[in-house]
């Protein structure tokens, strides 16, 4: 039975093969096929300017700050401005918000703009070949400047006409310096001019002048903005101590007002109301905001409201003005308490008077900040008619006098800088398509440039850049493999102390270091993007993920991939899909 070890070796019969298994193409067993497929991140789909945020944060993580900044510039000429004043809907959409806290996208955008400024980066942007056509842009606010910028990238000559003696529109005259320092704006405007855009300031144009330009130029982009304040509609609002908030902010920016003592009230709940109140504090006065709804219904940014209150602004909610009277050298504002009764169509609380009692608030001056409208009737497009093409962020109108595109606040439902950028971008794309392919091509061409299913327009896609191939599928949180991420607190924006803030117009938000920026960018899931984490490569049991020198750095060897799908499941960021193989009957 048993063999003695000193006489013969112990029986050893094992499966051993000297043949290669290469000939056994196990890929033929597959019925699911994994494919690398970059998808759309929800932040980018939510950004009115369609910034490729997942990509931007990935580049920032790698320390490629210039590339990250240029990726913003691809979609938005104003990273420095938007990093400061944008209402960042991207952060509300951020999938990381379902995990711990959303990425501080706007802080990173501001960091990238600051870094570009400090490093005097020169953007290397793709520009299309020069074209013969030229476009006049009326109004050098964010919409007009964006239109000129994108038209220049598309190869057109764009001349901008601005009534004020400096460009920038509401960015120059409406937003206080403590939110947007002047050099930041000036530099971003200068970069637009460096593309060959000519901005003529101090050119107030009449309707007749504009029509004359229409004959001279191939098209006009009208972006004169909303400069005329809306009225409260209560008795006494014409009195001398009542001023509209926007003109007050403009005086502050012009330097014609440098003191504002006494007790001031602002009526309104938007960012302009907050800006006025915080400016009053800085000019030595006391400020109160009177708002007819509640704090949570205010359209102003939550952080701005919080900082205003921190700086000493008083907030009186659920009060509507009834009348304004002069009284002892000041004003007596009669207000009526309101109560919430249901919800309005726009989702905000519906309010109605509560009882007949009113209250009198005694102040020295009153500012109104309840919205604006167009300064002149001719700024706006014709309501209906032949030759009118209504797009998502602008209106194209072909009339005998010429080709007009109306954009910015004139046509945007949401009045924001990011929407203004979107408007300028859409106008430039629409004109380019119209010139090249005719009016019929405009809508389908624009539809093909949306980020996600119904997101904003991407110039990257329009110009055929490498990221045009991302699938329109917007990655949801449950498609992220959250097991690969660790809880990490969101970056806290460092700020001036309150004591420093209230006596100066210095920028409130402080700079952050590259270390902090990279740490915050690293929190980003990079939804739908491959960041070469190598999980697919490590997990593949068939060694079928092969590295290569292509743009993705890897491909799948379908000769041996059995389609188990572990690569797709272990991909932390949903950059792979599994598709059913389309085998023929009888295969």
């Amino acid at each position: 039975m048993a063999k003695k070890t000193d006489t013969a070796p112990v029986s050893l019969f094992i499966p051993r093969s000297y043949l290669t298994t290469e000939g056994n193409k196990t890929g033929s067993w597959r019925f699911l096929r994994p494919c690398y497929e970059e998808k759309t991140a929800p932040c980018g789909a939510a950004c009115p300017a369609a910034e490729d945020i997942g990509k931007i944060e990935m580049l920032a993580t790698q320390g490629l700050f210039k590339d990250a900044w240029e990726t913003i510039l691809r979609e938005n000429p104003f990273p420095g401005v938007c990093g400061r004043v944008c209402f960042h809907p991207c952060e509300d959409a951020c999938n990381r918000g379902s995990f711990d806290e959303a990425i501080a996208i706007h802080v990173l955008e501001r960091f990238l703009a600051n870094t570009a400024r400090r490093g005097a980066f020169k953007p290397e942007m793709e520009r299309l070949a020069r074209k013969e056509k030229k476009i006049a842009v009326i109004g050098a606010g964010p919409a007009g400047l964006s239109a000129a910028y994108f038209l220049a990238l598309l190869g057109y000559r764009a001349d901008v006409f601005e009534a004020a003696d400096e460009a920038g529109g509401v960015l120059r005259w409406g937003i206080p310096l403590y939110r947007l320092p002047l050099p930041i704006l000036q530099e971003e405007i200068r970069r637009i001019e460096e593309l060959g855009v000519r901005i003529q300031t101090g050119r107030t144009l009449s309707e007749r002048d504009v029509h004359a330009l229409a004959g001279e130029y191939d098209a006009l982009f009208i972006a004169c903005g909303h400069g005329r304040p809306a009225e409260l509609g209560v008795p006494g609002e014409k009195s001398e101590e009542v001023q509209d908030g926007l003109s007050f902010l403009r005086q502050v920016r012009e330097g014609t007002v440098s003191v504002c003592s006494g007790r001031a009230a602002v009526i309104g709940g938007g960012n302009a109301a907050i800006d006025v109140a915080r400016s009053v504090i800085r000019l030595g006065g006391e400020a109160m905001i009177i708002y007819r709804r509640r704090r949570r219904d205010m359209p102003a940014f939550g952080e701005e409201i919080a900082m205003a209150l921190d700086e000493g602004v008083e907030l009186r909610e659920l009060l509507a003005p009834v009348s304004i009277k002069s009284s002892d050298g000041g004003l007596a504002v009669e207000v009526r308490p309101m109560k919430v009764a249901g919800t309005d169509a726009d989702g905000r609380a519906h309010v109605e008077p509560e009882g007949k009692q009113t209250e009198e608030i005694r102040i020295d001056r009153l500012f109104t900040a309840v919205g604006e409208r167009a300064g002149e009737a001719w700024y706006e497009p014709t309501e209906t008619g032949d030759g009118i093409l209504r797009l998502s962020h602008c209106v194209m109108e072909r009339k005998t006098g010429g080709l007009f595109v109306y954009g910015g606040d004139l046509t945007n439902a949401t009045k924001s800088v990011a929407h203004a950028v979107a408007s300028g971008k859409e106008g430039s794309m629409a004109l380019d398509t119209l010139f090249a392919e005719g009016i019929e091509a405009v809508r389908p061409r624009l539809a093909a440039c949306r980020v996600g299913q119904d997101g904003s327009l991407s110039m990257e896609i329009y110009m055929g850049g490498p990221r045009r191939n991302r699938s329109p599928h917007v990655v949801t949180y449950d498609e992220i493999n959250a097991a690969y991420f660790q809880f990490a607190p969101r970056l806290r924006q460092p700020r001036l102390l309150r004591e420093e803030r209230v006596r100066t117009f210095e920028e409130v938000n402080l700079r952050i270091s590259a270390n902090l920026a990279i740490r915050e960018a690293e929190r980003c899931f990079n939804c739908g993007l491959c960041n070469q984490c190598d999980n697919c490569y490590l997990f593949c049991p068939d060694l079928a993920v092969k590295k290569d020198s292509g743009p993705l750095g890897r491909h799948i060897d379908y000769d041996y991939c059995k389609g188990c799908g572990v690569c797709a499941v272990e991909c932390p960021r949903n950059a792979l899909i599994l598709e059913e193989e389309a085998y023929e009957e009888g295969d």
Partner: protein
């Protein structure tokens, strides 16, 4: 040099002296002290080995299968649930004929969650093709671990060195730790009969058709049979160098014994004392310690037990729906011997309960008093338990 050390440390010292190349393990109580000690040896340079930290016992053994295939000496240690998780790869190791050595600290399986000693974990792996050696004390554990490497590499089969949780793994005893030079004389470097070799590429473990599979299984069986003979030789060589001798089975005062108790593991030491006491009282009683469980030393067991009037097997394990596992094996070994003695199967010490001299004496008396066992499994020291409470 004699030192007072734990059973776990005795294993670790033997692994160090065996100059193991790769250790891969996942910590589990009560095995942890073994790999803890080894990790210190690896980090302070006492042992020049690669220590792999893995995420599970399955991976621990998988990693060693790879390492051993490349022709180096390998070791792992585990317990209970950890061993259960290795189950698939236990089969693989033996069929791939890899001489991996494992220290297996006997621990009860959950639930109820229990870290104390119980042999069911290792005995449940009896059909996986691993040689199994059950140790009684610290010295035997050290010596057996050294022998395990020799035995495994000679027959190309894996070896499990099994020791009781706490009673052995955590008990400090004087242990003679041999000199490296003496161990080197006993245990030559591993000379693999096959290995992964980039100069001569081949694949192991590939598809085998019915045409050849049966012969491969028979080859494993032949390796097991060879191990049985070889162990005696190994003991001889070991005794020649170190002056200590152990055995596959050890009969104690069995020559004229009418009743023989059969034990394994640390219960044996307690039983030795009982036998001496009973002999002083004139009882004709003996003890058979079974150390080698796979391959099962059938002939030797028959030779010792067949002449007895009764056999009482003490099992610190249980196979549900059958009986104690040592008792099953012993019944099977005896059944073809005409006129063989009845085998009483006693279940004691499950889940770490003490098996004292009184417990063993009770078993002996019960065996004396019965002509035949009233059932295959007689549970010793069971308490009254209330009926299962209603679900709230």
């Amino acid at each position: 040099m004699k030192k007072v050390i734990e059973g776990s440390q005795a294993v670790a010292e033997a692994v160090r002296l065996a100059r193991v190349n790769v250790i891969s393990a996942y910590p589990i109580t009560p095995q942890t002290h073994i790999v803890e000690t080894l990790s210190v040896f690896c980090s302070d340079g006492t042992l020049d080995a690669r220590f792999l930290k893995v995420e599970s016992e399955h991976s621990a053994l998988a990693a060693l299968i790879g390492a051993s295939s490349s022709g180096v000496r390998t070791f792992t240690a585990t317990s209970s649930q950890g061993l259960a998780l290795m189950h698939e790869l236990l089969h693989w190791t033996s069929a791939a004929r890899l001489p991996i050595v494992m220290a297996e600290v006997n621990r009860a399986l959950g639930p109820g969650w229990n870290i104390w000693t119980d042999q069911t974990d290792s005995l449940a792996q009896r059909d996986t093709g691993w040689i199994q050696l059950y140790c009684e004390d610290g010295q035997e554990t050290l010596d057996t671990t050294l022998q395990a490497f020799y035995l495994a590499e000679q027959v190309n089969l894996p070896v499990m060195v099994v020791l009781d949780a706490f009673f052995l793994s955590h008990t400090y005893e004087p242990v003679d730790i041999p000199e490296q030079e003496a161990v080197d004389r006993f245990l030559p470097p591993f000379a693999p009969r096959f290995q992964l070799d980039t100069a001569n590429p081949c694949a192991f473990g590939s598809l085998v058709t019915p045409d050849a599979y049966m012969e491969m299984r028979r080859s494993i069986a032949a390796g097991m049979e060879a191990a049985l003979d070889l162990l005696t030789e190994v003991e001889e060589r070991f005794a020649g160098i170190f002056g200590r001798r152990w055995a596959a089975v050890e009969p104690v005062r069995c020559d004229d014994a009418e009743i023989i108790l059969v034990t394994s593991g640390t219960v044996t030491s307690t039983c030795r004392e009982l036998i001496d006491n009973l002999r002083e009282q004139g009882e004709k009683v003996g003890l058979l310690k079974v150390k080698l469980f796979r391959p099962f030393p059938v002939e030797e067991i028959r030779r010792v037990l067949a002449p007895a009037r009764k056999v009482a097997v003490i099992d610190r394990n249980f196979s549900f729906g059958a009986s104690g596992i040592f008792a099953q094996e012993i019944r099977a070994a005896l059944c073809n011997t005409p006129g063989h003695p009845p085998v009483f199967g006693f279940i004691a010490g499950i889940g770490g309960r003490d098996v004292t001299k009184d417990v063993l004496e009770g078993i002996y008396r019960r065996t004396v008093e019965s002509d035949r066992p009233e059932r295959e499994d007689i549970w010793i020291g069971l308490k009254e338990v209330p009926d299962a409470p209603e679900h709230p």
